[in-house]
Amino acid sequence: MSSVTALPEVRIVDADKRRRAVLIVIFCTLIVGVAQYLIKLGANQLAAHHSNHGGSVSLTTAVMGIFTNPSIFSGYCLYAVFTVLFVIALRDGELSILYPLISLGYVWVAIIGVLAFHESMNPLKLTGIAIIMAGVAVLGRGGSGK
């Protein structure tokens, strides 16, 4: 009987840890939004300075850009912060639940794309982003329930 009464306490601690893991990952999505802004900004700079007959930059330019372009470098430094936080979160939760949660970043990135880079938005693109987010949310639910 004693082992049966001890079980709920253990579950409460687990639930708290899992909730904290989810909150950490949600904070991570804000970091992703800022990081993507910086990476896109830098990638545009690379394209402007090393134009490859109107195509994308070379692989060498891309590798160099990650380390020498201040904007891209800062973006990936944010991803390093993101990675440390994500590893901490992963200790208390399932990868298949936490990983898809990052999709909240799509909202921030779509807003940044339109506002900062004057990108186009149309019903098909919006629907695509919404369906992907729904899919990712469903993936998360599939992890907690059977």
Binding site: V57, L90, R91, G113, I131
Partner: protein, 119 residues
């Protein structure tokens, strides 16, 4: 089209490579203990970070031509790969609900493709 197909392909391939990074990070996180050396000598975490670097090079190359709001959501292809690897390496359950999520993500990526072709 505002985003060239080559950029879309680069980002999708980068996402598949990046999904392996998540697997190495998870197996590295499983091996962590309280002592700081368990991070320093954890080769799985190092390989995970290197894998992300490789995927980032393809991502930056793709991102140098095209729209952020179109290319970034396509990274979700990596989630589908992660689900498959999670099943294979960590024996995490693949439920019908998860399969529905995979289907939705794939449909969403197709919608993005059509949205891109609209211009």
């Amino acid at each position: 089209m505002t985003t060239p197909v080559s950029s879309i392909v680069l980002v999708l391939v980068g996402s598949v490579i990046g999904s392996f990074g998540a697997i190495f990070l998870k197996s590295g996180a499983n091996a962590l203990s309280k002592h700081w050396t368990s991070i320093a000598y954890n080769w799985r975490l190092a390989v995970g970070i290197l894998t992300y670097l490789l995927s980032s090079v393809l991502f930056v190359k793709g991102m140098s031509k095209g729209e952020l709001s179109l290319l970034f959501p396509m990274v979700s292809l990596g989630y589908i790969c992660t689900l498959v690897w999670s099943r294979l390496f960590f024996h995490e359950p693949v439920t019908k609900v998860k399969l529905a999520g995979v289907g939705l993500i794939l449909i969403g990526i197709v919608f993005l493709g059509f949205g891109n072709a609209m211009h």
